[in-house]
Symmetry: C2
Subunit: 275 residues, 2 copies
């Protein structure tokens, strides 16, 4: 079945969730570059009858900085349209009355300002994000000791991605470090962010679209595509960002459709979907 | 069944494998302290009819330094009696003609001197050990990139322990970092050291004792006790080192017997075993 066929056979789509890194832009040390055609594609999508939200596992930058960065690249994105894991994790920790030990990038610490007064209290959970250079033997060991001191260790992770692409290089994401702590402390992390169903559902609820009428477009075969499919959505993989040809033979996840990039997806979607 | 009963019912033992850290001594920054009664216990064991070898997953110190350290604490130990993973891994990499990328503690680099001339060659496998402070985002990422560049990533790990105790504190061992790389690069590590059957078998062969007539005494419920049992040996857990009371309810491994410490084990063993 050709790509065109797929979209023409799936005309009931009302809402679109877009991954950010690897779909809208490729990040690098100097702020990143828009992927060719993506700025225009987002514009056309938002001008159409379709509802749009952005679903990212970005845990290196606070949401407002991420939005500023995207706007600086020309994207039509507002903060309230962006779902990212740090605010969701913060809410979860607050709701349960926990004291968190944070192993996150310094740049997203402001998302956790609500726990500033907890300093000195004994933490009873660990929140781990894409801490990049803050991942050292010492910081991982500190987090491990918080977990192992507890009878039922609680590890909350901002996503479970394996790696991403930055400045052309593959970089380990938060997932491997989560796996390290899970193994060391014999526990199973609670995932906030993709592929957690509650994360997708929050975005679907916000746009008022049922999962059966929504698609997720992402570059991560497991967390974007597989996660969305498990929620009853359709999952489309772009051949940009961290996409690798071997993804097309993934043993567990089969995307509903492949597209070259976001622009390709939007072209086909708007030319085939009912208006 | 009491502890005394177990040894009196198992009189056919001819060989004993001893773990080192947590059984003979507790390591700390200044070289470590012998566990009370252990120096004497090793002496009595070696003076008995039983054969003795030392099986360690130590990958922070080269074997000769480890032996010097133990001798300095009063232990009757010779280098040829000690089985440790780094020399075994070095042999394995040589046998297969591989070019290793080493993520190990600087102190054990001399074990890999054979690969000094490989500098500049593209590595086609990763050897990971307990690299402690050398585990950084950068060094882990470097190892990950070697793995992901290969169609069939080969990760060789010097053990798979979760943690150990040093200066009274629990410290993450090589296992969690191995799991991080396995997850990131979608591969399964090849374990050199305990609980790998070939590692126990090399020590058994060296003392010429069949697994059915040998016991392993260690503080690690999974790698010492479980690993030995899978090899057909009996596995005894000491309540020293990294032992935690929750080990006694381990979901997968049930030691043949518990003892308070090595001294307790040797007392019971020598008073009950045939001479």
């Amino acid at each position: 079945m050709s790509v065109t066929d797929w979209f023409s056979l799936n005309k009931n789509i009302e809402g679109v969730l877009l991954d950010i890194s690897g779909v809208l832009y490729n990040s690098d040390a100097s702020g990143g570059k828009a992927i060719a055609g993506s700025v225009e594609a987002v514009k056309r999508l938002k001008a159409s009858h379709l509802k749009v939200r952005f679903c990212t596992n970005e845990s290196q930058h606070i949401r407002s900085h991420l939005v500023q960065r995207l706007q600086g690249l020309g994207f039509d994105v507002e903060a309230h349209e962006v779902f990212s894991p740090a605010p969701a994790a913060c809410q979860l920790v607050k709701d349960r009355g926990l004291v968190p030990h944070l192993l996150v990038d310094d740049k997203i610490l402001p998302e956790f300002d609500a726990f500033k007064d907890d300093e000195g209290k004994t933490p009873n959970c660990v929140v781990i994000g894409d801490a990049v250079e803050r991942f050292t033997y010492q910081t991982l060991n500190d987090a491990f000791r918080v977990l192992i001191a507890s009878e039922e260790p609680l590890l909350i992770t901002l996503g479970i991605g394996k790696y991403y692409r930055e400045s052309g290089e593959l970089m380990m994401d938060v997932g491997p470090f989560t796996k390290a702590l899970e193994y060391a402390a014999d526990c199973k992390a609670e995932i906030v962010g993709k592929p957690s169903p509650s994360f997708f559902q929050a975005a679907l609820k916000d746009m008022g679209v049922d999962s059966s009428k929504a698609i997720m477009i992402g570059d991560d075969i497991v967390n974007d595509v597989g996660g969305a499919q498990k929620c009853g959505m359709r999952g489309i993989q772009v051949r940009t960002g961290k996409f690798r040809p071997s993804d097309e033979n993934h043993p567990e996840v089969k995307p509903d459709c492949y597209v070259d990039d976001l622009s390709d997806a939007v072209n086909r979607l708007l030319s085939c979907s009912s208006s």
